[in-house]
Symmetry: C2
Subunit: 320 residues, 2 copies
């Protein structure tokens, strides 16, 4: 007969996949799995159900468990689309139907990303992808989020933001009749041949992720030394630096608190990363906003699914 | 038997209505009519067909004509959604099927608005509604458009822009725990009770027009002397002033060239209008960008449907 141990389930639902991790009281991973799309605001309920079921079943199988016979001490689901309260409530009901547990908890995705990266130690995660958000927590357990308000209200320093600035830059160059290397690269990428072609590309079936697809184009040119691309990329790096400094300031975090760079945008090039860590590039027409010094960059300890599992464990310990 | 006279048809298609005017060689109006929605980029083809047919039939009836028996010397349709080239081509075919004419012409809506307002004399129209565009023409017949690139790339000084800045302002005040009069008005208007409530209101079924609906709320408070509302409204007025100055500069127009204020945003309050005509309000944290002096404001001579009819006439005269 098996020893009875307490198990905690963490679920990290994103736009394209749902990651699942099961841990024990001692924080040891006993199973992991993945399912399909898990953004609760945009994913249809049957798909969401299948994503979660698939991920949890896989993780259970690896742990030598049957999902139907397993009763978790705690479950935490950290889901993209969290801010849609109505959908969140419906997902909560769906989750209770799929998984048996003593406690259920739903958190924003960036909170789980923080817990995974830091294991709960003071620190700041700066997540840059199509959107952008910075989130930190201090030794007293106070937390603060900066930005993360979506493409119309913020997402400063995001892939969307970089793409949009690049489109504006391109339109300006076309207006001047001076299509430089960056503008030419944008025209090639979008297949546009005129100002109105750019406008059509942007607004036709608009989604923020489409605009973010321009980011790697700019990032690559910045790495090659293109001045215009460097200006744009450096501006984004500075937006993200600003968000991190805001979090550090609001939480009274020491200057050497680790900063964890998460999200796909960090892969667009080494210039972008180095300008974030310690800027040296002077953006034309801007003052010397190179303050804040070098960031201490941390290596993430684990992923957001593990972070979610830790949150399930923490909730269970504190009774919250 | 009737005298045969040359007739010109002007069509002004907007988001909610389509206005039609028939004029003669001597620019005299002989018929007017209106139909339903006429934005070619977003209106379904059967609706578009009905809108045009209704407007043209009404105008013909007033002129004592039957649409089926009437052959126009020229037709000009100035349609919202013009930049969608594919839709424009389809609308062109539809128009040819509905109305018989020697010449057909399709123009952006702001060009017809300019011709209606100025009757072709040098001048600048600044159209502010959900979006924003400035367009002018000089004595040599050169024209220039500033902005009009939609809510993601521009529309500076538009109702959308004002609404979005107001939402950002409200989020900032909520973050500080300092909900002032303007922020309270926004919360009441949106029905939101929290930051995430604002975010949901904005992104749920987002259309730019929804954001622009906040503009009258801010405009009214600005008229009452509310400082925050005045700052925001003055910023928008300054964006529009900038667009007008750009048009004036590019076309070498004299300082006293008339400026025509068109579009619904001008109705949000007298403070907005006077800040546009001659700014006096100093926006907090901004330099003294009050340059450019007082604008000479013109009273529009006619509407965009009449302007479109003039464009039809002009095309016929110049053979363009």
């Amino acid at each position: 007969m098996k020893e009875r141990i307490r198990l905690y389930l963490g679920i990290d639902g994103g736009g394209t996949k749902t990651a699942v991790t099961i841990i024990t009281d001692t924080r040891a991973v006993v199973g992991e799995g993945t399912g399909g799309p898990g953004n609760i605001a945009v994913t249809a309920e049957p798909v969401l159900r299948r994503s979660v079921l698939e991920g949890v079943s896989q993780a259970c199988a690896i742990a030598g468990l049957e999902i139907a016979d397993t009763h978790f001490a705690g479950v935490c689901a950290a889901m993209a689309g969290y801010s849609d309260e109505e959908r969140r409530q419906r997902f909560f009901e769906l989750l209770k139907g799929l998984v048996k547990a003593d406690r259920y908890r739903i958190e924003p995705d960036y909170v789980a990303a923080y817990w995974g990266a830091t294991l709960g130690e003071p620190g700041i995660v700066v997540i840059a992808g199509t959107g952008a958000v910075a989130y930190g927590r201090n030794a007293e357990g106070e937390s603060y989020r900066e930005d993360g308000l979506g493409y119309l209200l913020g997402d400063r320093g995001s892939g969307f933001n970089l793409g949009l600035h690049t489109l504006r830059y391109t339109l300006d160059r076309m207006k001047e009749g001076n299509v430089d290397r960056l503008a030419a690269a944008v025209l090639e990428f979008t297949g546009a041949q005129s100002q109105s072609g750019i406008v059509r590309w942007l607004y036709g079936d608009f989604v923020p992720a489409k605009v973010a697809e321009l980011a790697p184009v700019v990032g690559a040119l910045a790495d090659e030394g293109d001045r215009a691309a460097r200006d744009l990329v450096a501006k984004m790096a500075r937006c993200l630096r600003h968000s991190v400094r805001q979090v550090r300031h609001k939480l009274w975090l020491p200057r050497d608190v680790p900063v964890y760079m998460l999200g796909g945008l960090w892969n667009i090039g080494s210039f972008f990363r180095s300008e974030f860590i310690q800027p040296t590039w002077r953006v034309e027409g801007e003052g010397d906003d190179l303050s804040g010094g070098r960031f201490l960059i941390g290596t993430p300890h684990a992923d957001a699914a593990y972070g979610a599992a830790l949150l399930a464990l923490e909730a269970s310990l504190t009774g919250s």
